[in-house]
């Protein structure tokens, strides 16, 4: 087998090389006219270059013909009182060629207009893209058409005469397939790796949503490049992506072969078993995450993305020009979140530990029943719990104020103050969260050997000393991961804050994650919210790294 690996390496490497060349060649062939990407590029162009005057109507691009027509639907007959009527009788087509505008009227029939209706764009095989948009009031003013007629701008983008695309595409694809087959044959011994990669290829080819989201990413990238005033990047059309992705397994195979020098990896079975998870995790987690990160650097406005760089981060980390005590200041919200997390974790742990100590007594009757009852808070969906508690904290008709009234105490206006709302939130979340800690502590308690306590008895230890010097240090290895987990969950506990206090009063009890939600879905500021989320992510990553060291140290007690 010593000679063959060398040969086996060549075929996939050749495939990879061919794919890359293919991509470069076709990219160079001006695919900017391809498919839906062309229309978005064109609409971007038109959006960023408003028409200043009739002379602007004459625009040509290099190696393409962009034709702009102004179509004006004019009313004939008496003007109507309502401004939104424009019965069509005839329309004029106006083109400008420098100097004085000349209006020529052509009678375009309604059928012609309807036939080319698909108003945003129409992509035909002959390579034309049609675009239509109404003029803005400023443009209308600039063109001297301030009247209430309906003006549209039609753009037609015609590609170069020849489009070498189809043939090259087919030829290249077949070539890639043949070479891939040859490579596979050569690589018979690496069947499992090959099989796994074929699986990847197949799933990519049939998953159109993937391609759509990738084209989204391209949109973002394109906007980014546009705003940098760079020439429009050549966007890869969808039908080009498929053969490219088809050759991806071969590329990967070649890379793998390069690293392993032809020797089969002893882990290849492991990789095969991991492949489905790797694929789904990357599709479901990594790609959306990458999109989110990209979004954080853009501003979103009605479907268009505009690159703003680090502006969002400056705004957030600079407190948003609000003073520190203002709820919209990032640091205030951060402080509230930290307070919320600390209070909750403290209460969860102490309550859970106490209950676990109680349940761990020898000879306690109905132990199983108590355990089951105490787990119920955790089992109920927290959405329902939050709504019920919110109702209980209602100032007039809530159960809690009602009970206080029965004892002769004045009812508390819970949601009217920061601390009242915080109490309501913390109470709800504690009720929800202590079973988890209790279960962890119970398990850990049962692993403490009994004779340690007996030795302590002989040494004369009181129950408190036994707890502090024996139980607690031995619980820490089990509690530490639970506390870390619990604190991360509580940090991001959206449901309770949103449902119980709703951020009252005035957004003061909003934590970081509800704040981000409001930015995204109440104010439509997706970019800002994405930046917010990214900041939250960074904070939590740092926290996780910090606590990793703590838990490692704690584990050494038992290992």
């Amino acid at each position: 087998m010593s000679a063959r690996p060398q040969l086996g390496f060549i075929a996939p490497a050749l495939c990879a090389l061919l794919s890359v060349c293919f991509a470069l060649i076709t990219l160079n062939q001006a695919t900017r006219y391809g498919g839906t990407q062309a229309q978005s590029w064109l609409s971007e162009r038109l959006a960023t270059q408003p028409i200043q005057g009739l002379s602007d109507l004459n625009i040509t691009l290099s190696d393409a013909q962009l034709e702009l027509k102004l179509i004006e639907l004019q009313r004939t007959g008496e003007p109507q009182s309502a401004s939104y009527l424009s019965p069509l009788k005839a329309f004029k087509v106006a083109t400008g060629a420098g100097g004085t505008p000349s209006l020529t009227s052509t009678t375009l029939s309604k059928e012609w207009f309807d036939a080319h209706w698909s108003p945003r764009a129409q992509w035909t095989r002959s390579g034309e893209v049609w675009l239509r948009r109404p003029l803005t009031p400023q443009e209308r003013g600039a063109l001297g058409r301030t009247g209430s007629s309906q003006l549209s701008l039609i753009a037609r983008l015609a590609p170069p005469a020849r489009s070498p695309l189809p043939w090259l595409e087919v030829t290249a694809g077949v070539l890639i397939a043949l070479l891939g087959v040859y490579g596979l044959r050569r690589w018979a011994y690496d069947r499992l790796v090959g099989g796994a990669l074929i699986g990847l290829w197949g799933s990519v080819c049939v998953s159109w949503p993937l391609l759509n989201s990738v084209s989204d990413l391209q949109q973002v990238v394109a906007s980014w490049a546009l705003s940098l005033h760079a020439p429009a990047p050549t966007l890869i059309p969808a039908e080009l992506l498929v053969p490219l992705c088809a050759s991806l397994p071969w590329l990967l195979l070649a890379i793998a072969h390069l690293f392993t020098r032809g020797r089969p990896s002893p882990n290849r079975v492991a990789y095969t078993y991991m492949a489905p998870t790797l694929i789904s995790v990357s599709l479901l987690v990594f790609i959306p995450f990458a999109l989110g990160v990209a979004l954080a650097f853009t501003r979103h406005d009605h479907g268009r993305f505009e690159w703003v760089g680090l502006e969002h981060f400056y705004h957030i980390l600079g407190g948003g020009l609000y003073e520190l005590s203002h709820p919209l200041n990032f640091y205030f919200t951060l402080g509230v979140t930290v307070l919320w997390t600390a209070l909750n974790v403290l209460l969860h742990t102490s309550l859970g530990l106490s209950l676990a100590l109680l349940l761990n007594r020898q000879g306690l009757a109905f132990k199983g029943l108590y355990r089951a009852l105490l787990i119920i808070p955790w089992a109920i969906p927290n959405y329902i719990t939050a709504l019920i508690w919110k109702g209980m904290f209602h100032q007039q008709y809530g159960l809690i104020n009602h009970s206080l009234g029965l004892f002769g105490l004045t009812p508390v206006p819970w949601m009217s103050s920061f601390w009242g709302s915080m109490t309501a939130n913390v109470t709800t979340n504690t009720w929800l969260g202590f079973p988890f800690m209790m279960v962890v502590c119970l398990g850990a308690l049962q692993s403490v050997p009994r004779d340690l306590y007996e030795a302590a008895d002989l040494a004369g230890a009181s129950p408190w000393v036994k707890f502090r010097h024996i139980t607690l240090p031995l619980l820490i290895p089990a509690l530490t991961p639970a506390i870390i987990l619990g604190s991360v969950w509580t940090f991001n506990m959206f449901n309770i804050i949103y449902l119980v206090s709703g951020g009252q009063p005035n957004g003061a009890t909003d934590i970081l994650i509800t704040e981000a939600y409001r930015w995204a879905f109440e104010q439509d500021r997706y970019g800002y919210a994405a930046a917010y989320s990214l900041v939250i992510f960074v904070i939590l990553i740092l926290y996780a790294r910090l606590t990793q060291r703590l838990s490692k140290a704690a584990e050494e007690v038992y290992s």
Binding site: D451, E454, A455, D457, L458, A459, H469, P473, L474, Y558
Partner: protein, 367 residues
């Protein structure tokens, strides 16, 4: 020096099970008493009652004449070494030993002095900064002993301390414990299921079975003069060869019955006869008459297995009994044995080494 008295100590569990029944024991000062017995005989329970870790159901416990039934463990002045050492895993050896003193709020310098002195006596001074998981089994045990000693207890309790060690280390530690006891001279109560440990370490041995005391006495006393069949069979390695026969059958084995044998054989019915492996000897069948004298027991046997142990050999024989199933016996021979599997041999045991027990359940010794 401390004297401990156990008077009719009983342990009864709520479900009615009696783990310990009326144990009477007097521990003189400076003695090391070993509690031995098979699993479940109540020895650990007895120990824990003395320590105060189990409630005494009835009976009295007196330490230095004071009744200790209701006193909590820390007031009894006992130090205990557990089977699994019970060292606190998160504390260093120093802290483990010093724990009790810390609770008594002894000053740091005093703690240090005492810990160092105990450590040097047990030769663990260089281990003090380590954690339990960084030490071997033997080292951990010494730390456990140090911890028990630090409070200068009146009574030392050992709960099967050597069971968790391997054979070689066990033997080594046996010697060390023996030396330690000789040096300290503290009154100790030692629980073990291994009768070799009991025999070697203890001043007196208490043998328990099913919660009842079978015999209390010096190790050799239990070995040489067992009071019942259980004691005879438990003490000694290899175990005593015992058989239950009818009296007539016994008399066919013994020539010229006299003395003890006569009394025992005067009974009707069955009885048990036994002799130790090292009290029997083998010879050729033809030499039988030359070898033995009046009162000795003799058996014809066939060798089944010979275990050469180097310094001695254990010969397993199947002795024929008239009208009964063969009796499997073990005979110990010095050095290398000439016997081979399948040989026909004659077994002799001197009269003074024969022991007779009644054939009932109690198996009391017949003299």
């Amino acid at each position: 020096m401390t004297e401990v008295n156990l008077r009719a100590l009983c342990k009864r569990y709520p479900n009615g099970f009696e783990a310990v029944r009326a144990v009477d024991l007097e521990i003189r000062s400076g003695e090391l008493i070993a509690l031995v017995g098979p699993s479940g005989c109540g020895k650990s329970t007895t120990l824990r009652m003395v320590a105060g870790l189990e409630e005494i159901s009835s009976g009295e416990l007196l330490i230095d004449g004071q009744r200790m039934n209701e006193r909590p463990p820390k007031e009894r002045g006992v130090g205990m070494v557990f089977q699994s050492y019970a060292l606190y895993p998160h504390m260093s050896a120093y802290e483990n030993i010093a724990f009790a003193l810390k609770l008594q709020k002894v000053s740091t310098s005093e703690i240090d002095r005492r810990v160092q002195s105990v450590a040097s006596r047990l030769e663990i001074s260089e281990l003090l900064s380590r954690k339990p998981k960084q030490m071997s089994g033997g080292q951990r045990q010494r730390i456990a002993i140090a911890r028990a000693l630090i409070r200068e207890p009146r009574l030392l309790l050992f709960d099967e301390p050597l069971s968790n060690l391997d054979a070689q280390l066990r033997a080594h530690m046996r010697v060390e414990l023996s030396a330690l006891h000789a040096e300290l001279g503290a009154t100790s109560l030692y629980v073990t299921h291994d009768q070799v440990e009991a025999m070697t370490l203890a001043d007196r041995v208490v043998l328990l079975k099913a919660g009842e005391v079978q015999q209390i006495g010096a190790p050799l006393e239990l070995h040489d003069e067992p009071v019942n069949r259980f004691v005879a069979g438990f003490i000694g390695s290899p175990s005593m060869n015992l058989a239950t026969l009818q009296a007539e059958a016994v008399s066919t084995l013994i020539q010229e019955v006299s003395g003890e044998a006569q009394q025992a054989l005067a009974q009707d019915g069955a009885l048990s006869i036994g002799f130790r492996a090292h009290h029997a000897s083998l010879c050729e069948p033809s030499e039988r008459s030359a070898r033995f004298k009046a009162g000795d027991a003799t058996l014809s046997a066939v060798v089944e297995l010979v275990e050469p142990l180097g310094n001695e050999s254990l010969v397993y024989c199947s002795a024929t009994l008239p009208g009964l199933e063969p009796w499997r016996v073990v005979v110990r021979e010095e050095g290398h044995s000439q016997a081979k599997r399948g040989d026909a041999v004659a077994l002799t045991c001197a009269a003074e080494h024969l022991r007779y027990f009644s054939a009932d359940e109690r198996g009391a010794r017949l003299r």
